[in-house]
Amino acid sequence: MKNKPLYFDYASTTKIRQEVYEAMLPYLQEEFGNPSSLYTIGIRNKKIINQCRKTIASLINAESHEIYFCSGGSEANNWAIKGVAFAHPDKREIITTKIEHPSVLNSCRFLEKLGYIVTYLDVDAEGFVNLQELEDKITDNTCLVSIMTANNEIGTIQDIQAIGEICARKGVHFHTDAIQAINHLPIDVKQLKIDLLSFSAHKFYGPKGIGCLYISKNTKIENLIHGGNQEREKRAGTENVAYIVGMAKAIELSYREMYSDNVRERDLSQLLYHKLKDAIPDMRLNGPEIGNRRLPGNLNISFKHVDGSQLCFELNEEGICVSTGSACHSDMIEPSHVLQAIKVPDDYIKGTIRITIGKDTTEEEIDKLTEAIIKRVKK
């Protein structure tokens, strides 16, 4: 049997938790009916999908007919951006930030090719958007503002309430990519004045390949996927019943355990940070300080004159999984766009790794990780 890896990449993906797995199982075999079919095994599946929709809606204070299932976070982001743009042909401007996920940035770049004008807002050294700048950039031609709730790399939690209020006051649709945030922050779409919100189940111990886009009832949106009448004629394709059931179960459990998980993950990341900082004083924390403005469990750190990808490689040789701060761009490996946007200094940027802590992380694992990093960085 293979050794269990020491996993510190929960922002990348999570394993399906047992309760979720068990909830999904019947829908992989016995309960296989097509939800669009008008016989008992199909009707039962239509019913369970609608129950899942209601569960999810109630958690984010939405109405059930505002919840649309899709294949994951990338599809949800693509749909929100392209769908709102195509539904408002008279308004050709979009505002986003330089630190969004590629599914947002590349959707915007695609729209630029079609003649849309996209403003990519700068962020400060901790990754925060300047709210005054956002307000100033909104014009009569702006159809959408898309700003992530929390950043996947550096954990910055934006002031979504303030952004929602600006957008509402200016009469502009507001989309937020909440893929990293949904299991850490209680989200009330009405209170936060969010028109569109994306999330994906595999970030909160649900299955990969299933996600959700909340679309407020007042938001006009064009379809991304055309075909049958599923999802109230807005998103075609036979529903992935087992995965929808898994996602609903996972988010329900995640909301129930959110507070205790957040406290625990924040404490563990504090512990890890201080152990590393004590041993390597010139280590740099990227993003906000550990606290309410940073995702619990997220630690994005840089070591001076260290090759972060080599460090990840060596940690992997010891069975430790962490993520690098690099990305692939046209046959080149470069520091990520997020690290560049927050202007991580040159002598640190290539020595970046992201550690993300989750439900199963233990203090003993933190000790092993700390020891392994210190051994390599101080050699």
Partner: protein, 94 residues
């Protein structure tokens, strides 16, 4: 930077970052197929494969713990390196 120097009779055959050591491209593809079942790897996967070869090289020669190593002694197992290793000596500095 981890500096690898390979010399033959005082003539430098390779000097530079060990991760830039020349690896035969067909061996990169071979390892990529072994690891990822991918004969057209992206740059990130290529760079991972190169790290694997460098790791193999260091483990095989124990270069980190030796002042110098005769690479010719390992030539049969270092065929992935795109250099003629006959009569060469390697030194390594972290």
């Amino acid at each position: 930077m981890s500096l690898l120097t390979i010399k033959r009779n005082d003539e430098v055959v390779y000097q530079g970052n060990i991760l830039d050591m020349p690896i035969k491209s067909d061996w990169i593809i071979k390892k990529s197929i072994e690891l990822f079942d991918d004969d057209d790897p992206c740059i990130i996967h290529k760079s991972f494969v190169i790290k694997k070869y460098v790791d193999e090289f260091l483990k095989l020669t124990d270069l980190k713990n030796q002042s110098q190593v005769k690479l010719g002694d390992y030539a049969e197992k270092l065929t992935f390196i795109a250099l003629d290793l006959t009569d060469t000596i390697a030194t390594y500095e972290e």
